[in-house]
């Protein structure tokens, strides 16, 4: 296992193809992290949603990077195009005008404790990621839609069925919630 600094020194140069791809990877990661920070630190809810959308876009970049453009596009279409817009929609319809006020913290210890917990989880995950002996699997399929469709209806049909069950539950839940308001 090389150390990070030696990797940086002996790795491909920035102007080679691999170096450029690596740079794009790092930019994608940066987009995810910046988006996540925007989403968690801002006190204006709509800014949080915008941060979430930025983060989702970064995740789509990672999917593209992992050579499954279909999943990347779907990520954009569903998460950026539908999920964050629905969240923003709910926020705009429900929240009062002023999101900027300094809400009263109930406990002084809340933010240091929260930060400490988050740091511990982060450290644990990092250690896990670095120490584990990862086994590399050969690439499965080319990631195009034809193959995804074939696999979803043959070897992974259970997933397909489970998703339809989740959607059914969501529809029933929405109907129940919407029904309640009516007399």
């Amino acid at each position: 296992m090389q150390s990070l600094s030696s990797q940086l020194a002996n790795g491909p140069s920035l102007f080679s193809a691999e170096g450029f791809v690596g740079l794009i990877f790092l930019i994608t990661i940066a987009v995810i992290i910046i988006g996540a920070f925007m989403a968690t630190t801002s006190r204006r809810l709509v800014r949080c949603v915008a941060g979430l959308a930025v983060s989702f876009t970064g995740v789509a970049g990672i999917y593209y990077f992992l050579m499954s453009p279909f999943v990347a596009m779907m990520q954009m279409l569903i998460y950026v195009g539908a999920v964050s817009i629905l969240i923003a929609f709910a926020v705009m319809l429900a929240a009062p005008e002023d999101h900027t006020g300094s809400g009263s913290r109930t406990n002084v210890l809340a933010s240091p404790l929260g930060a400490g917990m988050a740091a511990m989880v982060f450290a644990a995950l990092s250690i896990l990621g670095i120490k584990t002996q990862w086994q590399s699997f050969p690439r499965q399929g080319s990631g195009d839609i034809e193959q995804i469709g074939y696999v979803l209806l043959t070897s992974h049909s259970m997933v397909f069925e489970a998703i339809s069950l989740v959607l059914l539950i969501a529809i029933i839940g929405a109907l129940v919630l919407a029904r309640k308001g009516r007399s």
């Binding site: 204006r44 709509v46 800014r47 915008a50 959308a53 453009p69 279909f70 596009m73 779907m74 954009m76 279409l77 950026v80 195009g81 539908a82 964050s84 817009i85 629905l86 923003a88 929609f89 705009m92 319809l93 195009d144 839609i145």
Partner: protein, 337 residues
């Protein structure tokens, strides 16, 4: 693969020029069209037939101060017009203008265009909210609920086409329609089943209505209903911020017309089968755009409830039925002729 560095540069410049020219001159076309439909002349002072009007407008917009009113959300307010404009230009990368003129042939170009369109929706939402103006927020929520409602029948119709063509690549979808108009997806008489040819025009009408609604054009321009909402989500924008929103709108119309042409009207193939060139493609998209303008100045604005009912109660059931029928026609050979 040997691609010279010049190819991407030429495409970049070409697409930017095409986009800029369209964004500028469609405004002129619209004002002229509106004028003549309403028995006026339209712009006529600047240049012959007012042809230099877009340039004058551009100079005016760019020389104005970029005003950020008090109480708006600074970052989001500035980001929204850019977000409205950039995805529209970006999606032109995936559009094949002819057999040879295409910046990048992407396997999932249909999906790419819809994914980028969803960012445009985000821009309206962010712009409306960041303005901190009640009218703008009402307009943004209206626009988004409208876009979500109309995206569903539009995507279902696209799935129908994808099933017929067996590809999500716009280039391949267009190539499947080679030959005369009897091969086009709008009326595929030469296809396997006549029944398919009967339902496809309905599919085309659904797609066209949806693209009018998706671009927030009258009669579906609930987002900027002037008489009720001032100018909707654009109320607080002046100078080039407003200009970018307008350019985004016109570019979305161009992209919508390109998509309709490729999906239904045979792309770059001539109507009688022996010619194919970028000329036919441009002719078709400009006829469609003229139809957009004609519709806008002919029909009065509808109500938001009627608009949503149209989508959820008519367009979605019809498009789903067409999808189902197409699947049956594809799988059951000799079904109904």
């Amino acid at each position: 693969m040997d691609t010279s560095i010049w190819e991407p540069i030429i495409y970049l410049v070409g697409i930017m020029a095409f986009a800029g020219l369209n964004a500028a001159y469609l405004g002129w076309c619209e004002r002229k069209g509106a004028g003549h439909i309403q028995r006026r002349i339209g712009p006529k002072e600047v240049g012959w037939f007012g042809l230099l009007q877009p340039l004058a407008d551009g100079i005016k917009l760019m020389s104005k101060q970029l005003l950020v009113p008090q109480g708006v959300d600074g970052i989001l307010f500035r980001a929204a017009p850019i977000l409205a404009m950039v995805p529209a230009i970006t999606s032109m990368v995936a559009i094949p203008f002819s057999e040879t003129i295409q910046a990048r042939s992407i396997d999932l170009s249909v999906l790419l265009i819809f994914a980028l369109a969803s960012i445009g929706m985000m821009a309206v939402l962010i712009g409306g909210w960041a303005s901190g103006n009640k009218y703008a927020i009402i307009s943004a929520t209206r626009s988004v609920s409208q876009n979500i409602a109309y995206e569903i029948p539009m995507l279902v119709t696209v799935i129908t086409i994808v099933m017929l063509s067996g590809s999500m690549n716009l280039e391949e979808i267009a190539m499947k329609q080679e030959g005369g108009f009897w091969n086009w997806n709008i009326f595929p008489v030469a296809g396997e089943s006549i029944a398919q040819a009967i339902i496809m025009p309905i599919s085309f009408i659904i797609f066209f209505i949806c693209s009018v609604a998706e671009t927030n054009r009258a009669p579906f321009d609930m987002a900027e209903a002037e008489s009720e909402l001032i100018a909707g989500f654009m109320t607080e924008y002046g100078s080039m911020g407003f200009g970018l929103f307008m350019m985004g709108e016109y570019l979305n119309i161009v992209v919508g017309a390109c998509l309709t042409t490729i999906l239904f009207l045979g792309g770059w193939y001539g109507p009688f089968g022996f010619t194919s060139s970028v000329f036919w493609f441009l002719l078709k998209i400009y006829i469609l755009i003229a139809t957009f303008i004609w519709i806008r100045w002919t029909f009065p604005r509808t109500q938001i409830y009627k608009l949503l009912n149209l989508s959820w109660k008519i367009l979605i059931p019809f498009s789903l039925a067409i999808l189902l029928l197409t699947a049956v026609f594809l799988k059951v050979e000799g079904f109904l002729i």
